[in-house]
Point group: C2
Chain length 332, copies 2
């Protein structure tokens, strides 16, 4: 039996440092209207969608830093962002969106929520587990920083799969879903924890620099080659993890050139459980990519090559959950 | 500092059901001589290199089945295979080779050994953990079986990384290595356990059918498309896992058409820690592919994006080692 639904990634182009949040939200709503015209049931927005990707900046003022965060327990009531959720509800479209979250105790998280249009509320929240980058800024004032480890705590909500009550497929059963954020996509542990819960669709946004190689001791690659390499890695992990975990994936890029100098890759895509790209963004600007997917196609992988119950051997995996870093074997 | 060594995959073409084991071993020795001419230090042979891939056959006679296995505690003393190890020692080339192992207690394993030429002995043994296929043969007499779960027990030696005492790089330190076998390459857990031990080179052989889709409920793909799909998946997981685990990988195919009807993919390859194919087989016959690799290139991944100590969050991975199959979330 087929279980078809229509899904989209809403890629978002340049968002400059001084961008107005209400104006950015209007861009998101425009993409949502396009989705409504195309009968889309679920739209996935990027990571930290509402502002420029501020972890590239070393911001010492807490007051300034806080302008990039959403405060308050319920993002759907955040004045600048509420119009997006209201419109999602009006259009009957579920959305997954990333933002910087400041909790009442002052902690920062790189967060995504899943808003169910039929429930009229956020039904799942995820906080990014695999924070890349560093705590301290680079000494070189020309280097592009990546300060997620400074501004955010590692996510404390785990990887909790869920079903959206209103996201009906045309067959029996709603899809089981999960959220990742950016760098998480490079960590198969994250995909495995979700798919051990039967996840059929994983969603993630990302902000991935096109020319980050200079941060790490230089490169002989041209800027164009660096961008191709970053795109290659992004596609490679999405395709391989979709295949090895027998699930669809929907990825959405914050991309383009922020402030005339910070270039982010595009490549938003929808990938099948066999690892094939079904739809992919053609631009590095605001762009909606849409696909009708048949969630039943996950069964092939889940019941055969990747039938966990028959093939996984947890007795051989022990160190994965007890050992964080490398412990080399003794020299022979 | 660079740490260069020259490595090879010795791909092996068709091996028919009635092939003579001494003749097959002579083919392996011929590839070893080519490796010696090219100053290769390590040759990786396929999975179950010494015979046809017998798990495709339903063999009821234990006596017949045992002809496909190596018996005795030390494969280097197995009369048919000893000439290969003797030649490896004479040439000073380390080899990794897969074979079917029958233990004294009658158990069967799908095994690989690492033979160190300088030590003059096997210094590491691996038994395949992720056995694909089924215990029972198909009812359809025209179907190609995959009976590894019938003939082999899951490997009981874990994933133990090791250093080869004589495999000198031209810089400081010998590479840390590990062995996988065929289907293991599709399971990131296996790569992770090895690379949590610092593994820099993973080696594996495989027997992967070109046209297996008919086993699983039919396909609309042509035979050529099926072979391309099988190759696509094989490359995808090798490239992505090499990247996500920041290690080189060397894969070696048993390939070609066995007995005029069982078609296996080629695609033996050497892949960099950035996920790029450095060398790849051009044929589906006996073929040596060679590359000089710089093991120091693993540092980029191991110290940056995939610096496990800084980025892994084991508190979020718990189910990976305690739960074998899928447990779906409760319905909302």
């Amino acid at each position: 039996m087929s279980r078809k639904i229509t899904v989209a990634a809403a890629q978002v182009g340049a968002v400059h440092k001084d961008a107005s949040k209400p104006e950015t939200v209007q861009r998101l709503i425009k993409l949502l209207h396009e989705a409504a015209e195309k009968k889309v049931q679920l739209v996935v927005y990027p990571e930290c969608t509402l502002t420029t990707f501020f972890p590239r900046h070393f911001i010492e003022s807490r007051e300034e830093l806080d302008t990039y965060f959403e405060h308050g327990a319920d993002i759907t009531q955040s004045p600048d962002v509420k119009p997006l959720f209201d419109e999602a509800k009006a259009q009957g479209i579920d959305i997954c969106i990333g933002y910087a979250e400041r909790t009442p105790d002052g902690s920062g998280y790189n967060t995504s929520v899943y808003y169910s249009a039929s429930a009229g509320k956020v039904i799942s929240k995820y906080r990014k587990v695999h924070l890349p980058g560093r705590v301290e800024p680079f000494e070189d004032p020309n280097a592009t920083n990546q300060l997620e480890k400074r501004y955010f705590k590692p996510g404390d909500l785990g990887f909790k799969a869920f079903r959206a009550p209103g996201l009906k497929t045309d067959g029996k059963g709603d899809p089981i879903m999960g959220m990742l954020i950016c760098n998480d996509r490079r960590w198969p542990e994250a995909w495995r924890v979700y798919t051990l819960q039967g996840a059929e669709i994983l969603m993630f946004g990302y902000n991935t620099g096109s020319h980050m190689s200079h941060l790490w001791g230089g490169t002989s690659m041209s800027p164009e080659e660096q961008e191709q390499e970053a795109l290659f890695h992004s596609r490679l992990v999405q395709q391989a993890n979709s295949y090895m975990h027998a699930c669809f994936s929907i990825s959405s890029a914050r991309c383009g050139v922020d402030d005339g100098k910070y270039d982010l890759i595009g490549g938003s895509s929808i990938v099948s459980p066999e690892g094939h790209v079904i739809a992919e963004a053609k631009t590095k600007e605001d762009e909606l990519i849409v696909a009708e997917i048949d969630v039943a196609e996950c069964r092939k992988g889940k019941e055969r090559t990747f039938d966990y119950a028959r093939h996984r051997r947890v007795e051989a995996y022990g160190v994965i959950t007890v050992q964080t870093g490398i412990v080399e074997p003794e020299l022979l």
